[in-house]
């Protein structure tokens, strides 16, 4: 028996059944995998924080994190303190790395105080202050972790993005770009200004570490501008805390 697929009633029934079946299927897949996915995200955050403070398996030119099987233990070993800054209050919180910066941004919009995480790590007797940050690239969100020492000189960074163009903006997570930030001071005349990604600063090798500038990526102007804005905005949020750790 051939079905008359042109009838209105059939079209409606088909649409309803299709929506229910596909919806149920997607809901099932999503809920059965959500545990594994959030565990992956948790480990990734730890990997990123450690990467920024120089704890990684990098060899020449590549970006290699501490492996997922070890990262939880290594994280506990290097990260000595996780702080949450809320207004003038600073509290310790072992789960500070799980704070969702996007949600905090929305809280700030509603007039509530933003919770700002800081991760204090120690490596080879040196103390690192790792700040997480979130900003906007060309297509979607960009985010990163910046490790500072107590002279407010960048010791390492890790940047990532959701959907920047491969080969252009997506290169913010490449070594040749991220490594340029190492050694840059975020201070200018004792004010916290951050680091700008800039075209044509005549310093492609980035030898000048006091100019608050790194060389931009070709074809990724808007991603670069977004990154500069993310850095200066985020440092602004942490201004009081950063001034308190700064050695005069």
């Amino acid at each position: 028996m051939a079905i008359n697929t042109d009838k209105n009633s059939y079209t409606f029934i088909f649409a309803i059944v299709m929506v229910v079946v596909v919806g149920a299927l997607l809901a099932f897949v999503s809920s059965s995998l959500s545990g594994t996915i959030s565990e992956n995200i948790r480990l990734e955050k730890q990997q990123n924080i450690l990467y920024a403070m120089g704890v990684n398996n990098n060899d020449e030119g590549s970006v290699e994190f501490i492996s997922t099987s070890e990262v939880a233990q290594v994280f506990n070993q290097y990260i000595k303190k996780q702080l949450v800054i809320e207004g003038d209050q600073i509290t310790e919180d072992k789960e500070a790395f799980l704070i969702d910066l996007k949600k905090e941004g929305e809280r700030a919009k509603n007039g509530e105080a933003r919770r700002l995480p800081v991760f204090i790590g120690e490596k080879d007797g040196k103390t690192f202050y790792v700040l997480p940050m979130l900003g906007k690239g060309l297509w979607d969100a960009i985010w990163g972790y910046v490790a500072l020492d107590n002279n407010l000189v960048i010791q390492g960074v890790f940047f990532d993005h959701k959907g920047e163009t491969p080969g252009l903006g997506a290169n913010i997570k490449q070594r040749f770009f991220m490594d340029d930030f190492t050694g840059e001071s975020i201070l200018k005349n004792n004010d916290i200004v951050g680091v700008k990604v800039i075209k044509g600063n005549n310093d492609p090798l980035n030898n000048d570490k006091l100019d608050n500038e790194v060389d931009a990526l070709a074809g990724a102007t808007i991603t670069g501008n977004g990154l500069s804005a993310m850095l200066s905005d985020s440092f602004k949020l942490y201004e009081n805390y950063l001034n308190s750790i700064l050695v005069q």
């Binding site: 697929t5 995998l33 996915i37 920047e164 163009t165 080969g167």
Partner: protein
């Protein structure tokens, strides 16, 4: 090909060359421009479309007798979107690194006109096996062009292939850079991809007069 009948083999072979979705049918141009600045992204995108189009064509072909014609486009969209999301979720759970590389492509796959085009033009009127071959063939044709564009854009734009510096180090001035060669930054921008597509079309039609349109 001994395994396939002549007609079936043609389903795969035609879209690879003489009926290529990008250079002849001029479909899927947007993603060909967007993600071909490096070779790796081109390969990943090619494989993703291969998978989605192969699977999607089979699913649509199996459903072809029960899909109401009035809402067939919506049904096709739902099938592609569901397939892509399921693949994305599974990768996120079990191959997290790979899923991050792919994340940018998910949206691009759903909106790729080659996929909708093949559903509409082929899968709705043919059996699952033929539809599968057609899907593989068309996605293969798409992938070949993507890889060619990606190869030239990455080589001439960044001096690298798959991330390896094949022409030497542009900053330390080794390899060909020692001779005064410079990377062409323009290759990294989308307009250059269009020009490369144009060159491929030119070469292809010059070699095969059958493909030339008369005016």
């Amino acid at each position: 090909m001994g395994l396939l009948s002549k007609k079936d083999a043609a389903l795969i072979k035609d879209p690879l060359f003489d009926n290529n979705p990008i250079t002849i049918q001029v479909l899927g141009i947007c993603s060909a421009l967007a993600i071909t600045a490096e070779l790796k992204a081109s390969i990943v995108m090619g494989l993703s479309v291969l998978f989605v189009l192969g699977m999607g064509n089979v699913v649509i072909s199996l459903m072809r007798n029960i899909i109401p014609s009035k809402i067939r486009i919506i049904v096709q969209l739902v099938v592609v979107a569901a397939l892509v999301i399921i693949v994305d979720q599974v990768l996120k759970a079990f191959a997290y690194e790979l899923s991050k590389t792919l994340s940018v492509f998910v949206g691009l796959i759903i909106t790729n006109c080659i996929i909708m085009g093949r559903f509409e033009a082929f899968a709705l009127g043919n059996g699952p096996w033929k539809a599968f071959l057609d899907g593989i063939g068309n996605a293969g044709g798409y992938a070949i062009i993507l890889v060619i564009i990606g190869f030239f854009r990455e080589l001439l734009g960044s001096g690298t292939l798959l991330g390896f510096q094949v022409l030497g180090d542009p900053i330390a001035k080794t390899g060909v850079y020692a001779l005064g060669y410079e990377n062409n930054g323009f290759m990294l921008l989308s307009p250059m991809a269009l020009i490369v597509v144009g060159l491929i079309i030119w070469v292809q039609r010059a070699r095969n007069p059958k493909l030339q349109e008369s005016h």
